[in-house]
Amino acid sequence: METRRQFLLKGGSLVAAGVAAAAAGPTIFTRGAAAADKTLKILQWSHFVPAYDKWFDPFAKEWGAKHGIEVTVDHVGFADVVPRATAEVAAQSGHDLHMFIGLASAFEEHVIDLKDVVGTLEKKYGKQVELAHRSTYNPFTKKQFAVSDMWVPDPGNYHKKIWTDIGQPNGPSTYEDLVKAAPEIKKKYPQIQIPIGVGLSQDIDSNMAVRNMLWCHGGSIQDKESNVILNSPETLNALEYAKRLYSVGMTQAVLSWNAASNNQAFNAQETSYILNSISAYRTAQDNNLPVLENYFFVPALKGPAGIMLASEHVMSGYVVWKFSKSQESAKEFLVALIDASRESMLASKLYNFPSFYGAVADPNTVMSKKYDSGAAWIAKQCNNDPFGSKPADKLALLAKALPWSTNLGYPGFANPAEGEIFDTYVITDMFAKAATGALAPKDSMTEASNRAKEIFNKWRKKGMVPGGSKDR
């Protein structure tokens, strides 16, 4: 029988052997890695249209196999994209390529400048769409901190039968239409819980919905020079409007919604209007839900002064971390991904729209015609949905979404301050408090404006955001 001492001595030898192996580990790993060529680790979200992931993962692997690079793709839920980036920056290790679905600007300091990648792409395909440029480039530091391969339009989704029954078969076209329609919908369809389903909660969709409302009433968080101008008569008008809409057409349910709630409410025919991309519609199609025949879309609604704007629903922003040891492979992959924009759009069932329209142009198109050719190809898909819409041109309005779509940070560029305001729900809370009467609209605006200025000033001190001289 072994004594305790003998046991420990043996154990000690094993530990020593383990330590030696660990010390030799990096050498062994390097040799192994060299034998298997280079590696590229990509962090992606789990796409709202799952079919896209089934295309992306093999696409990335195949690209890697062709170039002697071992590609790994990891997916996280959309809510974990930012926390994961925070953790990887803190650890200074992780993935090489990190995809953001909103603003990556807060991480600018830790990513490499991708000007050369955008330069290459612009030489091949012409300019990218303006909202992608404004979401991935910081004019203050002159850094291209991310590259966008796609963006997603955010139309209104309306229930055709309900709106037809109240005399508006083509759905709403202005914000005022929602206020007028809500009491009529309540009267005709008392069983519907939420006549108008515009989210006012702490979630991503509500964050966009309230910005749309703000912009269409002429307000915004910042101006073009990044001065905070939230404290304005226009913002107050938007809040007064939200209060009216809430009182006639919404319930407390919209204060608790998560990203899936508006889809679920619309698909269950518990609301007649929501703001969403086509992912909810694709879910209804996949499950052949009763709502399908009445599932229709309208463009962004017009505000009182005729402004018609909607935030992009998703804006991809791929960054390459400074700590990455595969920066060149990451850049090459980004170019390859944008080369495959047609496949990407089709794999996502027309959810993804290319950030470089020229990348979906017909082959051999001359540079000066690439944008138009790309736009024509997009229109062809939307006018005759290859994924079974009835009627086939149900998604036609998406092809014309670019003029009424804009970036977070409108009318300026996206920046870390706008990102922090987005992620901490300053604007949704301002609208929710005003709409429910938790605070008077003016007080709610003052509270949010003070917080916005605090956040902007913090980022200005860090040298990441300009402006400040004309803050209100």
């Binding site: 305790r4 001492r5 420990l8 930012v82 926390p83 980036a85 925070t86 920056v89 803190a90 200074q92 807060a106 991480f107 600018e108 300091e109 830790h110 008392p190 819980q193 939420i194 006012l200 909660s201 702490q202 979630d203 319930t251 407390q252 349910a253 919209v254 204060l255 608790s256 919604w257 998560n258 709630s261 679920q264 409410a265 269950a268 518990e270 870390p416 990102g419 922090e420 992620d423 901490t424 729900y425 949704t428 809370d429 929710a432 408090k433 429910t436 938790a438 509270e447 917080r451 605090e454 956040i455 913090k458 001190k461 860090k462």
Partner: protein
Amino acid sequence: METAETTGTATFLTATDALSPRDRRLGKLLLAPALAYIFLLVALPFVLALFLSLTNSSAGSLDFSFVGLQNFANVVRNPVFRRALWNTFVFTFVSQVLVMVLGNILARALLKKFRGKLLVRFLILMPWAAPISLATLGWLWIFDSTFSVINWVLKVVGWLGPGQWYYWLGDPTLGMVAIITVHVWRLLPFSTVILLAGLTSIPSEVHEAADIDGAGPLAKAFQITIPMMLPILTVAILFGTVFTFTDMNVVYLLTRGGPYNSTHVLASLAYQEGVLGGDVGRGASIAIFLLPLLVVMAVLMLRISRRAEVV
């Protein structure tokens, strides 16, 4: 031979003195993993949090400057923080009272003999064993503002009339009710097991003697059961309190602090500001705001657990 007794001086040998140097080295070796664990995963992050709360550190940067108590001054001015602070106390106090009362009832029920007792014990322990994220998803549907099963049942039985509806997660008060309900559901098994252990540790002879002396149920509860269970009861309360004070899971998974940041507790607000919002310094200052209170509680806990050892 001279001994301690012969010299007349009192000599006390501790357990360590009795060990040979070889065994002492072994003791240190065996203790090292636990100490390393505490140092690396508890002490170091804690000191780091303290340090970060005094800086303007942000998530996307490794550079920061020392800002003193500025973060604390900023958060105290913020109405969302003040609400979260209030919620933290309400959340902790109400859930602890409920956990103790319900745990006591369950523990006493489980002391009795009945058929299927094993199954009941298993079912009671289930919430403790279930991953909180999975369990909360279930609760999320139960409390869903549009599809709440509670509301549908209340509607069917006639409690809710036409147009009446409870927006569990869309109303600040009902939101807190939902959060506390899930937290109580989650902590109840642990407190039941602790209280059950305390009850079974009281010798039956004591109760029998009290019966012979003619003591009633109230006298037995206040003069025998509660005094004899006091150390273990206090440990359970303090553990539950500290656990609840620092927990953010239920809040974050159920309401994400909404509506309009009205159901945040300090831990969930710290996550929102520090991790999601990227203001690490501000997040750290929110997270450690209650540190002085928690330190007092920890000291109390240690003292009482030492007393429990003696008992």
